[in-house]
Subunit: 322 residues, 2 copies
């Protein structure tokens, strides 16, 4: 591990304190690995309630709601250009395809806690790095887009990032509630704009101190600095930032204009045969849930009345029983 | 690939026909990789409805409902003894930790579709092979069990099996709805018995032709044959089998008595300090959904009235709107 990675895995004292509090209240269940936690019943209830809040807003778009598993073909990740930008974050699935003797050695080494990785080889699948990746090839397969393009609500998908961290808000796998719009540049940009307004309102109603700001992705290495600058200069990425446990506010939601990046890579065409544009909107559900606990306290029964009403609408009996 | 694997990936003609039908009706969205599919809106609706059916039955147990992500520490898989039994099915996450030059090579090779796996190294996480694996270390951390033990409903978790297949019912990642009972041997066995009865009823009400039978796990290699025989002889595993698209009925649900295997491995103690026993019940949600489409047809509007009533109860408006 580099010194930067060692520091990241240790976490700041504020991050450690918040993590301890989450564990103490049964919201996070430690696994022994940084960034990998089970979640308690109340945490999951809040996460699902916020997810429902997004659903109540997204229905206005009448989106299609397909669902994708957390793995995609390795070739899809390659075609999307992910490895040129974020090789450090990828997750490639390896498995065992050896003979009886090798299997025996794997079993014995595993029991002792010794390394058995030399017995493994790559499979053809990788973990999904962002919920929208599987959607583009699926859209392309259907042929040209209808007039007006397509809107997808992909639900809360598990995505993977190889970044073990002591910050409880930085998980190795988390639920990204993602929506995708594919069509002409103008309609795609207008849709992203609408969602920035919608998100602002959702976070306001949730009693969270949210700031919208231009942002960039964590591109790898020195060359990545230029890519990040270009992304900012062109306003391709915006994020909503909310204070959680880190010294600086944490990104909990992003609004991304891809231009024709994905449509070109996978061959998504408008109804007239020209290449489409795309945008996506993502909500990091665990981060938002953590922000809610941070802002309103560890016991949901003591959360502000307005926030509770928002997340547990009156019609639902569970509010009273809490 | 061995000849057996080549045949498995090709699938039987019945499996290919069923897969084509699923794709034609928008229930499965092909990714290009066998065993990896997106699912359409109707498929997901049915899957969630069946999941709700299990919930309506499981509430009688007043289970805790923690949730776990689809990755666990590699050490957890090792301690559970998984690699001694099923090395061929494991999924270990690899990633990139190289320098700028290596990253450049990864990007270029990936663009060309060339191999870049020599730049990858193992991380400390693996994919969850069965939904209950993360639950045991979490239970152990809480200290001794309360009198009467513990019951968990883990919801529909994504689990991974490295077995690419042309059979649409054999997915590389799928939702396993799993429930776990930890306590004394007798209470754990009685609970498993109760669930075999409950499952029989659920499948009957869903209009599925279900058979309960003693079963064994797919242990690796020649040595695995003896382990499978022991498992059968001791009645440790039962499965519900339903015809889907394969020549033989497909296992859609299993009922497993682990004796003290997991409790010993992770140190789960009864209230008196002796080692606990455990059992789990799993429903393969995609397989069950496929079985429903196979039995009742591709168009849910034409499903038998009784089955529709079961999955879309009257109280819910969505039945009428269908």
């Amino acid at each position: 591990m580099t010194p930067a990675v060692v520091a990241r895995v240790a976490g700041t004292s504020g991050e450690r304190e918040f993590l301890d509090e989450l564990i103490h209240h049964g919201h996070f269940l430690p696994s022994g690995e940084p960034g990998v936690y089970g979640r308690g019943m109340t945490f999951e209830d809040v996460r699902n309630r916020f997810d429902n809040l997004v659903t109540s807003v997204s229905t206005a778009d009448s989106p299609e709601t397909p669902r994708f598993p957390p793995i995609i073909p390795k070739r899809t990740l390659e075609k999307a250009g992910y490895l040129k930008s974020f090789p450090q974050l990828c997750g490639v699935v390896y498995s065992f395809a050896g003979n009886e003797a090798a299997a025996l050695d794997v079993g014995e080494r595993a029991t002792r806690g010794d390394d058995w990785s030399h017995h493994l080889s790559t499979t053809d699948v990788v973990l999904v790095p962002a919920a929208c990746y599987p959607a583009y090839p699926a859209l392309a397969l259907r042929g040209r887009l209808p007039g007006g393009g397509s809107t997808l609500d992909l639900g809360g998908c598990y995505v993977f990032r190889n970044e073990p961290s002591g910050d409880p808000a930085r998980l190795q796998m988390f639920h990204q509630r993602e929506l995708v719009r594919v069509g002409e540049a103008e309609e795609v940009l207008a849709w992203r704009e609408t969602w920035m307004d919608r998100a602002k309102k959702i976070f306001e109603q949730s009693g969270l101190d949210a700031t919208l700001a231009v942002a960039s992705d964590p591109f790898f290495g020195r060359g990545g600095k230029l890519m990040a600058k270009n992304q900012r200069d062109q306003g391709l990425k915006f994020e909503v930032l909310i204070p959680i446990a880190s010294p600086h506010p944490t990104a909990v939601s992003s609004f991304n204009f891809h231009q024709d990046h994905f449509a070109s890579a996978f061959g998504i065409q408008l109804h007239d045969g020209t290449v489409a544009n795309s945008a996506c909107v993502g909500f990091g559900l665990e981060r938002i849930t953590l922000a809610l606990f941070r802002a309103h306290g560890m016991d949901v029964r003591h959360w502000p009345k307005d926030v509770r009403k928002q997340l547990w609408p009156k019609a639902d009996g569970s509010l009273r029983r809490r």
